[in-house]
C-alpha cells in the first residue's frame, strides 16, 4: 500500500536523512569555506567588539520582544474584539518583510522625518532620533515581537479552558491562576520562543547597521561579510561563523534544560470562561492597541507609500510574483516534509533526544547565510553548474531557514498525538499509512497550517536566490525590489513591496486558515 510505504520511508529513512542533511548543511559548509582558505583565521579587536555587540543587542532585543509578547498574547487570548482574527494574521507580517522595506516603514513613523517627528515639530519640539542601540532594538522588536506573540498565543490557546474553570471555582485569584496555569505553560513555551527570536536577532546585520548609526552597529554577520568580500579572508569568515555557532549553541543548551510545552491541539479560540476578562479590559486593550499601532502604522506607511505607484509597475512584476510563489511552495513542501520526518521519527524517543533534534533543527538558522551559500558553492562547483541548481538550492536554503519554526510548532503536537493515541493505534493494529494519513495529519491540521504558513511567508520574503547561485532569468519579488531600488526607482520598489506583503500575507492566511478549517477537533 503506497501510503504505508511513504509513511515508513518518512519515518525511518527520512528523519535520519534530514539530520544528516542539516549537519552537512551547517558544519560542512563552514568546513568547506575554511579549507578553501588557509584554515581558521584569527580575530582582531574590532571583530571581538562586533561579537560583543551582537550578543548584547540580540539578548536585549529578544528579551524585550518576548517580554512584551507575554502580556500582549495574554490580552489576545482573553479579549474579544472586532478585527481580532485579522490582527492575529497581521502578526505574521513584519517577520516576512524584506529588511529594507521594514526599516523604511519604521522610519516613516519613527524616523527624523517620520510621523512622530513631524508631530513633535508642530509643537516646536525636537525631532525624534532613533539611530543607535535603542533604534536597533526598536527595529528588532518590530520585526520579532509579532512572531513571539503568535507563538506564545499558541501556548495560551493550548491550555484547556476547563482548567481555568476549575481554578475559578476553587476561588483562585488572578495571580494564583497565573502561577497555577499560565506560568507552567510559559515556562515551557518561553525558552524555545526566546531561542528562535534570539537567532533571528543574532544573524541580522542590515537592520543593526542601518539604524545602529555607524560601525558601532557592526554585527558578526557584517564582519563575515567584510572578511569575505573585502578581504577575501575565508579563514576568518569561517572562524566568525563558528563563533556564531558557539553563541547559538550556548543559548540552545540553556533552552534545552527546560521542558517542552504540551500542546493540546486547540486553535486560537478565545478563552471565554475567564473571570478576569472584564477587570483587565483596560490594561489588555492598552497592550493590544499599542502593539497594533506599533505593528500597523509602519505597515500602513509601506502600503500608502507603494499603493499609488502600483499602476506604474512593469509587467515583469507578474512573472516575479509567480516565481516567488512557486519557489515558496516548493520550499514549504520541503520544509514541512523535513519537519514531519524529524518529528515522526523522534516522536517516541525521550525528551532529551527530542530536544537535541530540535537543536539540530535550528542549525539552519544559526549559520551565516553567506557562509552557507559559499560553502555550498564550493562543494557543488566542481561537479555541477551552480546556476543550473538555482531552484533546488534556493528552495532548500529557504526550507532549512524555516525548519526551526516548523519544528517548534509541529514537534509538541506530534508528540502529544502519540501519547494520546498510540495505544489505540496498537489495539486497532493500524498500519503506518493509516496512522499517518488518518490520524496524525488530520490531528495536526492546525499546527501544520500554521507551520506551512510561516514557511511559505518566510521564503516569499527571503531574497530568494543566494547570489552565487543566481540564475539571471529567475527574478523573485524581493530581488525585483532590490533591483528597482538599485536603479533609483524607489516608487516602483515601494509598489513591489506592497505586492510582496500582500502576496506573503495571503499565502500565510490561506495555509493558516486552511489548517484551522480542516481541524477535526
Amino acid at each position: 500500500m503506497a501510503g504505508g510505504v511513504i509513511a515508513v520511508i518518512i519515518r525511518i529513512i527520512g528523519g535520519g536523512a534530514v539530520l544528516v542533511a542539516l549537519l552537512a548543511f551547517s558544519f560542512s559548509t563552514v568546513l568547506a569555506v575554511a579549507l578553501h582558505g588557509d584554515g581558521l583565521g584569527t580575530l582582531g579587536s574590532y571583530d571581538w567588539q562586533a561579537v560583543r555587540f551582537t550578543i548584547w543587542q540580540a539578548l536585549a532585543s529578544t528579551g524585550l520582544s518576548v517580554g512584551i509578547a507575554v502580556p500582549v498574547a495574554r490580552a489576545l487570548a482573553r479579549q474579544d474584539f472586532k478585527g481580532r482574527s485579522l490582527l492575529i494574521t497581521l502578526l505574521g507580517a513584519p517577520f516576512i518583510l524584506p529588511v529594507i522595506v521594514g526599516v523604511l516603514g519604521l522610519l516613516a513613523v519613527f524616523g527624523r522625518a517620520g510621523w512622530i517627528s513631524q508631530g513633535l515639530d508642530l509643537f516646536g519640539l525636537d525631532r525624534l532620533s532613533i539611530y543607535g542601540p535603542a533604534g536597533v532594538i526598536l527595529a528588532h522588536v518590530f520585526f520579532n515581537l509579532p512572531l513571539a506573540t503568535r507563538f506564545i498565543l499558541q501556548g495560551w490557546a493550548s491550555i484547556p479552558p476547563d482548567r481555568f474553570r476549575v481554578a475559578d471555582s476553587l476561588g483562585a485569584q488572578p495571580w494564583t491562576q497565573f502561577q497555577l496555569i499560565e506560568w507552567p505553560m510559559l515556562r515551557a513555551m518561553l525558552p524555545g520562543t526566546f531561542l528562535l527570536i534570539f537567532l533571528l536577532c543574532l544573524t541580522s546585520f542590515a537592520v543593526a547597521l542601518a539604524i545602529g548609526g555607524g560601525p558601532r552597529g557592526t554585527t558578526i554577520e557584517l564582519a563575515i561579510y567584510q572578511s569575505f568580500r573585502l578581504d577575501f579572508d575565508l579563514g576568518k569568515a569561517s572562524s566568525l561563523a563558528l563563533i556564531q555557532f558557539v553563541i547559538c549553541g550556548t543559548v540552545a543548551a540553556l533552552a534545552i534544560l527546560i521542558p517542552l510545552p504540551r500542546n493540546d491541539g486547540h486553535g486560537l479560540g478565545l478563552i471565554h470562561t475567564r473571570q478576569d476578562v472584564q477587570s483587565n479590559r483596560i490594561i489588555d486593550f492598552g497592550f493590544i492597541s499599542i502593539t497594533a499601532a506599533f505593528l500597523i502604522l509602519p505597515l500602513a506607511s509601506i502600503v500608502i507609500r507603494g499603493a499609488i505607484h502600483l499602476p506604474e509597475l512593469p509587467n515583469a512584476v507578474f512573472a516575479a510574483a509567480w516565481t516567488s510563489l512557486w519557489i515558496a511552495l516548493i520550499s514549504t513542501s520541503l520544509c514541512i516534509g523535513m519537519a514531519l520526518s524529524l518529528a515522526l521519527s523522534f516522536a517516541r524517543t525521550g525528551q532529551t533526544t527530542q530536544k537535541l533534534v530540535e537543536v539540530v533543527g535550528i542549525l539552519g538558522l544559526a549559520t551565516s547565510p553567506l557562509v552557507v551559500g559559499t560553502g555550498l558553492f564550493l562543494m557543488i562547483f566542481p561537479f555541477a553548474h551552480p546556476m543550473s541548481l538555482a531552484v533546488p538550492v534556493t528552495a532548500m536554503v529557504n526550507a532549512m531557514m524555516a525548519l526551526p519554526f516548523a519544528l517548534r510548532v509541529l514537534f509538541p503536537a506530534i508528540r502529544d498525538t502519540y501519547v494520546d493515541y498510540i495505544r489505540l493505534r496498537e489495539s486497532l493494529m493500524m498500519s503506518s499509512g493509516t496512522w499517518l494519513w488518518k490520524v496524525i495529519l488530520p490531528r495536526l491540521s492546525k499546527p501544520l497550517g500554521f507551520a506551512a504558513g510561516l514557511a511559505a511567508a518566510l521564503s516569499m520574503g527571503d531574497l530568494g536566490v543566494i547570489a552565487l547561485f543566481a540564475d539571471p532569468d529567475l527574478q523573485t519579488l524581493p530581488l525585483m525590489l532590490y533591483r528597482l531600488m538599485g536603479a533609483y526607482r524607489m516608487d516602483q520598489a515601494a509598489a513591489v513591496a506592497v505586492v510582496l506583503v500582500a502576496q506573503s500575507l495571503a499565502l500565510f492566511w490561506i495555509f493558516d486558515r486552511g489548517g484551522r478549517r480542516h481541524a477535526t477537533s
Partner: protein, 325 residues
C-alpha cells in the same frame, strides 16, 4: 505537425544552438537588471556577433571578484565586467586575468593605461541633496555644519569604500581627525547604496553619499530638478569601472570582440541613461541634456590600484576608530 517534423525541428533547433558560440560575462547584478544597461547591451552585441551573450549577475563589484576567486581557473566566465580600481589590484594578483589589446580614445580624467583591464564607465562620488539647501563647499564646512548625512559602510558597499578613499585622498594623514569631526553629522551608515538613497529620499537626512550623476537621473527620467550634488573644492574621488578577460577563456576571439564593442559607441551610448555613469569614451552624440560636466583633472581624485590596495586596511581602521567613539 507530426512527430517526425517535430523531432526534426527540435533537432535542427538544438543543432543551431550548439553551433552558436556562447560568451559568458560575469557582472554586477544591477547591470543585468531590467532597468540597467544589460538588456540593451545584449541585444546590440548579439546583433553583430553571431553568438549568445550570457550575462551573469553576481552581487556587486566586490562580490564579483570574490566569485571569481572562488571559481578560480575553472570559471565558465570569459569576461569579468564591473570591477573598479579599488579592486583591480587584488584582481591582478589572482593571476586569473590575461592581458588585452583593447584600445580607445578614453575620456576618463587622468587617462587610462592598464594592460589587463579596459574601462567602460566612470563617475565621481558626491553628496546629493535637495536644491533648496545651500551646498557646503568642502568636507570641513560640512563637518562644521549641522547638516545630517547618510553614508554607506566601506566594508559592504562600493560608494562607502569610495568615500573612505576620497577622504584619504583629500586629507591624507589628517583623514582620521576629519572623520572625528564628521561623526556628529552622520545619521547612520547603511550596508548598501539602496538603503542610504532610499532613506535620503524619505527625508531622513539632508545629504546622501552617491554620485555626481545621481541628480541627472531625477532630471532626465523623472523630470524632477529638485536634486543636485554638493561640489567640494577638495575635488571628488572617482570610480572607474573596468572589464577584463580571464586567462581560462575558451572564447578568446569573441572575448576580444566584446571588449572592443564595449568601448564602441554602440555600448557607450547605452551607459549614461541606464547605468547613470559617465561613458568611458564619450559617444559621437555627446552626453544627454541634464548630465553633469566632468571636472578638471586637478579636481578628479583617484589612487592608483596598488596605492588603493595599500591604503585600504589602515584607512578602514581610522574610520572605525573615529566613528566607534
Amino acid at each position: 505537425m507530426n512527430n517526425i517534423t517535430l523531432f526534426a525541428g527540435l533537432f535542427l533547433a538544438s543543432a543551431a544552438v550548439a553551433d552558436t558560440p556562447v560568451l559568458t560575462v560575469y557582472t554586477y547584478d544591477s547591470f543585468i537588471s531590467d532597468w540597467g544597461p544589460g538588456p540593451a547591451v545584449e541585444a546590440a552585441f548579439e546583433a553583430t556577433c553571431g553568438c549568445d551573450l550570457q550575462m551573469v549577475g553576481a552581487g556587486d563589484g566586490a562580490a564579483l571578484l570574490a566569485r571569481i576567486r572562488l571559481e578560480g581557473s575553472r570559471s565558465e566566465a570569459d569576461i569579468v565586467m564591473g570591477l573598479d580600481t579599488n579592486l583591480t589590484h587584488a584582481a591582478s594578483e589572482t593571476g586569473l586575468f590575461t592581458s588585452i589589446s583593447t584600445a580607445a580614445d578614453y575620456t576618463v580624467p587622468g587617462g587610462w593605461n592598464n594592460s589587463l583591464f579596459a574601462p567602460f564607465d566612470w563617475g565621481y562620488f558626491a553628496f546629493v541633496h535637495n536644491t533648496d539647501l545651500e551646498s557646503p563647499k568642502n568636507f570641513k564646512e560640512l563637518a562644521a555644519s549641522n547638516l545630517k548625512i547618510i553614508i554607506q559602510d566601506p566594508r559592504s558597499s562600493t560608494p562607502g569604500l569610495g568615500l573612505l578613499m576620497w577622504v584619504k585622498a583629500a586629507y591624507g594623514v589628517e583623514a582620521a581627525s576629519l572623520w572625528a569631526e564628521l561623526a556628529d553629522n552622520i545619521v547612520t551608515v547603511t550596508a548598501g547604496w539602496s538603503e542610504a538613497y532610499g532613506m535620503f529620499l524619505e527625508g531622513e537626512a539632508d545629504m546622501v553619499l552617491s554620485y555626481t550623476t545621481s541628480p541627472a537621473y531625477h532630471i532626465i527620467a523623472e523630470g524632477d530638478a529638485s536634486k543636485k550634488y554638493a561640489k567640494f573644492d577638495e575635488g571628488h574621488y572617482m570610480q572607474i569601472e573596468v572589464a577584463g578577460k580571464l586567462a581560462s577563456t575558451d572564447q578568446n576571439a569573441l572575448a576580444d570582440q566584446f571588449l572592443d564593442f564595449m568601448v564602441s559607441d554602440a555600448f557607450q551610448d547605452i551607459i549614461p541613461t541606464t547605468n547613470w555613469m559617465f561613458p568611458a569614451v564619450t559617444p559621437a552624440a555627446g552626453l544627454p541634456d541634464g548630465f553633469p560636466k566632468a571636472l578638471p583633472d586637478s579636481q578628479s581624485l583617484i589612487f592608483s590600484p596598488s596605492e588603493a590596495a595599500a591604503i585600504r586596511t589602515g584607512a578602514l581602521e581610522e574610520w572605525q576608530a573615529a566613528l566607534s567613539q
